[in-house]
């Protein structure tokens, strides 16, 4: 039997072919091996992962809705606040005793404190850094400061004194103004109103 007959007998002709005198096998047939299918699978994966990634990004990096911000600015000082500060000072002074600074000194005079309390509402409406203090004779003084300008109103039971100081200008002194502990003298009120900004 010739070799050709063997090939015909075993019916392997379809799988063998003669090309340029060489025997060459044909690759076995496989399912799902086409390039277009691989491309499709790749494309589908790309799209799927892109969608997942975008979803994650949208969730994590999404801008948060604007929160309602609450800012509390210190309210600007007012004339009422100036007087309130002085009143608080006077209340504290009333509770002080002898040698309250730690050194020998007069205790605050009750009549001076009361007179200062009566003067307070009569002060012009000015905005200042204001505190009350006590001098060495037990008399109350009110200090009103606006920047470098400062006024001191010392209130005795029956006399009142004003000192106004501003850099570059002569001081204003009102000494021993009769007062009787009740009505703020008008010229003192005018000096305060004219020199300290309301």
């Amino acid at each position: 039997m010739s070799n050709t007959k063997i090939f015909e007998d075993v019916k392997i002709r379809g799988t063998w072919y003669d090309e340029q005198g060489l025997l060459k096998t044909s690759p076995p047939f496989r399912k799902h091996t086409g390039r277009p299918r691989r491309k499709l699978a790749w494309a589908a994966s790309l799209i799927a992962f892109s969608l997942i990634g975008m979803n994650v990004a949208a969730t994590v990096y999404a801008p948060s809705p604007p929160a309602q911000a609450t800012l509390v600015w210190p309210s600007p000082p007012t004339a009422a606040y100036t007087k309130q500060s002085l009143l608080e000072s006077l209340l504290k002074i009333r509770r002080l005793g002898v040698d309250w600074t730690g050194y020998s000194g007069a205790s605050p005079l009750e009549k001076s404190i009361s007179a200062a309390e009566r003067v307070l509402p009569q002060l012009p409406d000015i905005v200042a850094d204001a505190r009350a203090g006590v001098d060495g004779d037990g008399h109350v003084y009110l200090r009103l400061q606006q920047g470098e300008k400062v006024a001191y109103l010392t209130v005795e039971p029956r006399l009142i004194h004003l000192l106004y100081m501003e850099p570059g200008k002569p001081n204003i002194y009102i000494d021993d103004e009769q007062f009787k502990g009740k009505v703020l003298p008008s010229r003192i009120k005018q000096i305060l109103a004219g020199n300290l900004i309301s």
């Binding site: 500060s85 608080e88 000072s89 209340l91 504290k92 002074i93 002080l96 005793g97 002898v98 040698d99 309250w100 600074t101 730690g102 050194y103 020998s104 000194g105 007069a106 505190r131 009350a132 203090g133 006590v134 001098d135 060495g136 004779d137 008399h139 003084y141 200090r143 400062v150 001191y152 010392t154 005795e156 004194h161 004003l162 000192l163 100081m165 002569p170 001081n171 002194y173 009102i174 000494d175 021993d176």
Partner: protein
Amino acid sequence: MHPPISEAAEPISDEDQVSRAYFEIPGEIDPESHFPFGYDNKADERGESVYWRKYVPLIAGVHERGCRLELVKNDRRKDLGKATIKYTGARTAIVGAIRSIRTQRGHKFAVIHFPEEGDNAHAHILIEPAMGTRVGKLKSNDVRELVSLLVQQFGALDRHDCSTLGASVGVGSADQ
């Protein structure tokens, strides 16, 4: 006119420093109240005590004195049922700066050495009125103006809490 100075008193130079012991006052009260300069009619003067840093070179020595004052004064106050005081620290100024103060009416300060009760560091800041004015006749406004100018010469408060100090009361123990 100043009161007679003891033989132990020395001149204080302008370059030296003095420190004032501060005691707590309510925050609502004007801090210039720390220098009352009340009139002492026995001595005919208006003065406030300070410590001459020549004899208290370390601030700890000033704090020691302040704490001792707190202790002594509070012992008396407790006996009398009065509120106690609390030493809070000290402020320091240059003597020359204090002496250079002049009010518009011509009043000024003197700084003199005044050893007292065995403490060589004790000194006084005294009001020196203008010529023709007696210290007992000074106006309220003059004292206010002087104090207003004086407090500007003192530096920031060097804080101290006596409760953190081991109770050392002897004079001079912290002066070394």
